[in-house]
Amino acid sequence: MAANIRLEVVTPEKYVVSEDAQIVVAPGTLGEFGVLSGHTPFLSTLKTGTIRYKDVNNVERCVFIGGGFAEALPDKVTVLAESAERRCDIDIERAKSALKRAQKRLEEARSKEDIEFARARAALERALERVKLAGSGSRGS
């Protein structure tokens, strides 16, 4: 079996994940990519989405990230995200109400400036991803 790779997910507020993984799959802006141990140094921006990884016990775990970037080294993947939560930590009620708010704002902003629109859209994407992820299963994180 291949060696494990260290996954670290860091936000400005705290360490979200710091553990060994067998494989890490992250949502790059140019497409999803997987990282195994021994990966060549690699740097990519990430879009809002889900990082999936298999932990040492072969359990698949998911972490929501609200955009950021990732650095892969042979023995380590570091994800710097502006927001990140493990699946089990997502507050589903809050995410749902945020989703509603974002949808409403999007409707209102459609006519207004592009910036407003882009912001509302980003909020919608984040909320949607959280709801999707939280609903996708309840085992582990």
Binding site: Y15, T29, L43, T45
Partner: protein, 298 residues
Amino acid sequence: MATLKDVKNKISGVKKTKQITKAMNMVAASRLRGAQGNMDAFRPYAAKFAEVLGSLAGKTGEEANPLLVPREDVKKIHVVLTTSDRGLCGGFNINLTDRAKRFLEEKTAEGDVDVSFTLFGKKGRDWARKKGLTIADEYLGVIGGTFDFSIAANSGRKLIDKFLDGEYDEVYIVYSEFVSAARQVPVMKQLLPIPPIEMAEDETEETDKPYLAEHIAEPSPAELLGELLPRSVFVQIYSALLETSTSEHAARMAAMNNATNACNDMLERLTLAYNKARQAAITAELMDIVGGAEALKG
């Protein structure tokens, strides 16, 4: 001479003041712990960020991004001043506003420049208003409270937009660096144009391993840098906000500690005065009685 009752009143007043300063000291101490925790939590992010940015900047040319290019003719300067919302923290806010004032004087002495301000904290805002300075933005209730990265990102986004539009030629931030619980130093730093990158890492976190082979970057290094540079400004702002918040609590803790000590000294003196006055009264009374008894004997 103060009467017995006056002194007694004064003593009870000072005791009450002491209670308040002591309570404030303890509140500040616990907030300080919280703020320091936030700073510690941010450190890995900042360190990692600086590392990645440094390695990336090495690969792309200096002039690759408009945020890096210094303007030749600097006419419009913007200063982000961070202060606390509340007082009772010693010279904390004065130090910060003095730093800004000194900078203002330097710049206006050099030539004809417009200086505008973004203000975090009520004390700085009041100062700027009183001096009649141009205020672009103000954020109250941030410093010293709980805030997250988004406030830094939002304000940073505004600054960057205005910088790119040519509304500002240079942007600086004034904050209070938290050196230790006993020492906070007002610091001024350039935010925009972003100073040469290696300057950006004053976090002297040593990475255990020297940087490995070249990174593959996705998208291109220049584009990636375009993503990272604005974020590096946010990181700077956020860390400045954290430092100022932490410093505020530390400054208040020290100030309240001093105040409590001063109360103790005063109580000591007053108690002495009170005892003296009481003794004097008793002596006088005794003299009276003795004098009276002597007179009767006569």
